[in-house]
Symmetry: C2
Subunit: 383 residues, 2 copies
């Protein structure tokens, strides 16, 4: 994997990531395909929307269908029919947020699989092994996640373990060299000083790229922005930076402004299934009665299939009637919107006009009071 | 609407139906789009699969979003973004099979809408009015449906009412002439003599086409085939014949052999959502454990997107994981399979080789004991 930094504008970066499955222009948004499927969309839809990389989840694929099954069927790309790049999350966040009865020791995490109640164990080495079997282009280290808020002592302890696990992942990953990149994850809770130490220590271990983890877990938005800036400034300029599980459109703009290159989040896909569309003028709740007779497209500024072909009235009808097509058409639009937003940011940075873009976006994108965040929902995978 | 009979082979007919929204080659299968959506598919998918006509349901669209809303938004074609032809069922079957507390009088049917419990009333005249507002290419008369088995007396009474309602529909429809065709529906229960009388009486009223109703409601398969043959032989050769709510692939072949031109059924779409795929060698239940590691496509003889891109192992995984994409990919395949089967029959009839086609199909298509029919499920709409 090779990362080129093509341009900067303030802290915002325009880059290019070369993977074994194609070239990614950054800043990039990665749609979440937790169970080897970006919910309701085909690989063809994703390509047409401009996606070049999607996420898969180690935790989910380990439990079902099992990484050995995926390996046997030629790896995750072939299994899901996706020829673009894939990043796999390590499972740390999912064990923390989804599994019951987890017991964390220095070795790893023991948990009960929600599907069958069986006791399962995930270690740093196994997380690397699973991701190797899946054959993702970018693997993530296993990290220990931390609830917000946490005491200084808990944060320090957890960070120390995450760093030891990161080193074990690095060692395990180095044993079978290949095209797969490995990213470290900077944890450290909500304390800027600990975050700086975490950044330094993670960079000292040496990874192909660096993620900022433990965000969007309940902390106030200004805290998230400030911590992201702190960590990003401590990361090497020649490696990609990935902010995990974030976020809303305004978060993407604000965090690109702070030097982030890669994002993933379930919001465009999950919220589509809850009837929320992201548009150039702000989020829209499609089931509202005001759309019953509305012949206009979801977003007049959008060129996606949903906006070219269907009215808000029809989309509302589909959603209220619980038609499967509603989830698909709204997901298609939201993914298109997110990817279009990233493309707009890439252009603006290249033109050294990012501040104007940011101001224009902020002025045009109305966040209503209905747009209440559910920050404690797991946003790094969709079950 | 104009119908051309291009070729016959035995009782099987190869025809062409000219509608205001395109030309349909018959025998034709019409995917069911009950609530203005063929579940999980876009108009683009349907076109690509070869669909030229879909069904909409008066009953469902009357209740939600309401025919006035659809009229205001430019009619059903524009509302659902479908440029092909549309046939609308009249609501008779749905009131009978889905609504609670129905009270049938000579005027019409009073029923409680399942959605809000409100009392609603559907008459022959209103069924015509609703279908006019929807703007379908082919409207159906309101018929009274009959449970199977029924006494001779109940059957006669019900048939007499259906005929009176048919005449009222004809009169109401003639008041506002336009491009929309109106089809009569031959009822008459399971008695061949009554069916012959019903055929004669319905034809005497004079319609643009004739449907055979009240089939697949629990009667034995040989009875259904025999009654279809009886009715078809009594229908004028220059009008299209539509067998409502039937059926399985083998039923389509057997009823084309008996002179039917048009079919609709929820099986390809509903069964897809239940994990059943129709293939050239018979139905397949995708969740079976034998597919866990199966790299083969669903149907090696199929050229649909699902079969070109994905393995049985992946489709099984999606279905077991309850991924929305499973329903979509299986629906796409099943609709493709049904439409391909019709195309094969059209070719065979044109080549006067239908009997060879029928024998080949019957030999290759294995119906397992797991393929038990649920004949009492409403197959004329999907809620």
């Amino acid at each position: 994997m090779r990362f080129e930094l093509l341009a900067t504008d303030g802290d915002a970066r325009r880059g290019r990531l070369h993977t074994a499955h194609g070239v990614l222009d950054t800043p990039v948004f990665m749609p979440v395909g937790t169970q080897a499927s970006v919910k309701s969309l085909t690989p063809h839809d994703l390509e047409a929307a401009g996606a070049r990389i999607v996420l898969g989840n180690t935790y989910h694929l380990f439990l079902r269908p099992g990484h050995e099954v995926v390996r046997e069927l030629g790896g995750l790309h072939r299994f899901m029919g996706w020829s673009g790049a894939i990043l796999t999350d390590s499972g740390g966040f999912q064990v923390w947020s989804l599994a019951k009865l987890r017991r964390i020791t220095e070795d790893g995490v023991e948990f009960r699989a929600p599907l069958d109640g069986a006791l399962r164990f995930l270690s740093p080495e196994l997380a690397v092994e699973i991701q190797r079997a899946l054959g993702s282009d970018i693997a993530m280290v296993l990290d220990e996640c931390l609830a917000y808020p946490a005491t200084a002592r808990d944060t320090e302890r957890s960070l120390a373990r995450t760093l030891r696990w990161a080193e074990r992942c690095r060692v395990a990953h180095a044993k079978a060299p290949g095209a797969q990149a490995l990213f470290g994850i900077v944890q450290g809770g909500a304390d800027p000083v600990l975050r700086m130490q975490a950044t330094e220590a993670t960079v000292a271990l040496g990874f192909d790229g660096y993620a900022i983890g433990g965000m969007a877990v309940g902390e106030p938005k200004p805290t998230m922005y400030a911590l992201t800036e702190t960590v990003a400034r401590g990361l090497p300029v020649d490696r990609p930076r990935y902010l995990m599980g974030v976020g809303k459109p305004q978060d993407l703009v604000e965090c690109v402004a702070r030097g982030v290159d890669m994002f993933d989040c379930v919001l465009p896909t999950r919220n589509a299934r809850n009837g929320q569309a992201f548009t150039s003028t702000g989020p829209v709740t499609i089931k509202q009665a005001r759309f019953i007779r509305d012949p206009a497209p979801l977003d007049a500024a959008c060129a996606c299939y949903t906006c070219r072909q269907f009215s808000r009235a029809y989309l509302r009808h589909l959603f209220v009637a619980e038609e499967l097509l509603a989830y698909r058409l709204l997901t298609l639009h939201n993914v298109h919107f997110y990817l279009g937003l990233m493309a707009g940011m890439r252009e603006a940075i290249a033109a050294r006009a990012f501040e104007a873009f940011r101001a224009r976006f902020s002025a045009g994108y109305a966040v209503s009071s209905a747009d209440v965040p559910h920050e404690t929902d797991p946003q790094r995978s969709e079950a």
